[in-house]
């Protein structure tokens, strides 16, 4: 794939890691959080951590939308499909996330709920057009990358007069999650690898508040060389003691982000006063809902959908994994009761979740197979 495979050159990767090792100061530790679950996936898949010198530690962050979605929101989505009889459209990632009572959208579908996986909001709009007699709800989750496609769908639905279409909006904001992680005093961090695709929408200035407070931020793309480049840039920032925001993904990421996309979000959505996150608690101004002007397209206003907070399953360490405080392996359920085939927490579901990435590619993998418990 053009603009991707060139950035996977293993030989060059080894040379860059040699440079990184040469520039790391022997008296220093470098803990960098990769905010985005997509980065976690690349790091695990290409074994980047093992190539890096021992003084560099990579810490998994909260940037996996499936992982930070609280159980109560999954329950509401199941309710929409099962009790309100809507056609619920969703991205595939949410299908296997455990809700209450060991339910999931996948199980609700098997039990007769009309739940359809879509690749794009464009597909959800088509389903609404094809089923004028049914209510069609799109279960919208994701950070700022995924918000513009939802916002566009709302605009298109209104322009077409598509009255049976609405959004169950769960879009969340990256800077809020970063703030929560830093304030929550997780591990001591020397820098952050910023999310490339979120930044393609919000721009890199969104992280200035963190670098102003002394946290180096380098925004990176998703190929292995992109990540190594960002890590080298972070090491240099730490060594120079000059924290700033830098862009290591210039080919796809203009520093200003995408103003048009932000405009569509601003037109159709508004900040929620507070929103519950899995692992981070209830955070003010950390998520969006549909603007009052678009209230007709808001499933939470169209249907009676009371939100209930549901505690995470007992002994599940997802909350600590999301904040980077615990490694997946530290969870007592990891590989014993919680596996991708039989997930207990959401971090095991999406391949961008810390637990799933570690399960798929981690060193425990060979031994882990034997430990798998019957479902």
């Amino acid at each position: 794939m053009k603009f991707a495979s060139e950035f996977r050159d293993g030989k060059l990767a080894r040379k860059i890691t040699a440079t990184i090792a040469a520039e790391c100061r022997p008296d220093r530790q470098y803990s960098f959080m990769e905010f985005c679950g997509g980065h976690t996936h690349t790091i695990a898949r290409y074994g980047l951590e093992a190539m890096l010198p021992g003084s560099i530690r990579l810490v998994h962050g909260p940037g996996c939308p499936v992982c930070v979605l609280p159980v109560g929101r999954i329950d509401s989505a199941i309710e929409l499909a099962c009790d309100h009889g809507v056609i619920l459209c969703t991205y595939g990632d949410t299908m296997r996330v455990p809700g209450s009572h060991r339910l999931s959208l996948l199980k609700a579908k098997a039990a007769g709920g009309d739940i359809r996986m879509v690749w794009s909001t464009l597909d959800a709009l088509k389903i609404a057009r094809d089923n004028p007699g049914r209510d069609v709800v799109f279960f919208a989750i994701g950070f700022e990358t995924t918000t513009p496609p939802t916002a566009m769908a709302v605009k298109m639905a209104r322009a077409e007069g598509l009255k049976n279409f609405s959004i169950f909006c769960n879009h969340v904001l990256t800077p809020s999650a970063m703030r929560a992680v830093f304030e929550g005093g997780s591990l001591p961090l020397q820098g952050v690898i910023g999310p490339g695709h979120v930044s393609a929408v919000i721009g890199i200035d969104a992280y200035r508040e963190f670098s102003d407070e002394g946290m180096p931020v380098v925004v990176a793309g998703f190929e292995p060389l992109d990540l190594l480049q960002a890590i080298l840039m972070l090491v240099r920032q730490v060594n120079e003691d000059r924290p700033r925001v830098e862009n290591a993904y210039v080919r796809a990421l203009p520093a200003v982000g995408n103003e048009k996309a932000r405009g569509v979000i601003a037109e159709t959505m508004t900040l929620r006063k507070s929103f519950e996150w899995r692992g981070l608690g209830t955070l003010p101004d950390s998520a969006v809902r549909l603007a009052d002007d678009y209230a007709d397209f808001d499933a939470e206003r169209r249907f009676d959908l009371p939100y209930r907070t549901v505690p995470d399953p007992k002994s599940c360490a997802c909350a600590e994994v999301v904040r980077g405080i615990k490694h997946p392996q530290d969870c007592p359920l990891f590989g014993r009761g919680c596996t991708p085939d039989n997930p207990i927490g959401s971090c095991m579901v999406s391949s961008e979740g810390g637990c799933a990435a570690h399960w798929l590619y981690g060193r425990h993998n060979m031994a882990g197979k034997g430990q798998k418990e019957p479902a």
């Binding site: 794939m1 053009k2 603009f3 991707a4 060139e6 950035f7 060059l12 080894r14 040379k15 860059i16 890691t17 040699a18 440079t19 090792a21 040469a22 520039e23 985005c36 679950g37 997509g38 190539m51 010198p53 021992g54 996996c64 939308p65 499936v66 991205y91 990632d93 690749w119 794009s120 909001t121 464009l122 597909d123 989750i141 994701g142 950070f143 990358t145 995924t146 513009p148 496609p149 566009m152 999310p195 695709h197 979120v198 393609a200 929408v201 998703f222 060389l225 190594l228 480049q229 080298l232 290591a248 210039v250 080919r251 796809a252 203009p254 995408n258 048009k260 996309a261 999406s350 961008e352």
Partner: protein, 82 residues
């Protein structure tokens, strides 16, 4: 989830839609969020929407920079490579 992939625009369609090729797989997507997209451009595609245009010049410069980064330590001991 936030994964976006490079796709080549192969045809412009009405309503700011377009046909793109992702390594030979053709999809109809929305180009409404990126200005002045032309056939032959590469865009960053996310759940059916182009989010930005990929700049071939910048990509080449980054590759050159990466090569430079890789040459700096050629004569350093690299025992951790194992």
């Amino acid at each position: 989830m936030c994964l976006a992939i490079p796709a080549e625009v192969i045809e412009l369609m009405p309503g700011s839609m377009g046909r793109v090729s992702i390594d030979g797989i053709v999809k109809v997507v929305s180009l409404a969020l990126v200005d002045d997209v032309a056939v032959g451009d590469h865009v960053l595609l996310h759940v059916g929407f182009a989010l930005s245009r990929i700049d071939p010049q910048e990509a080449a410069e980054t590759l050159a920079l990466l090569k430079e980064m890789g040459e700096l330590a050629e004569f350093e001991p690299a025992e951790f490579l194992g």
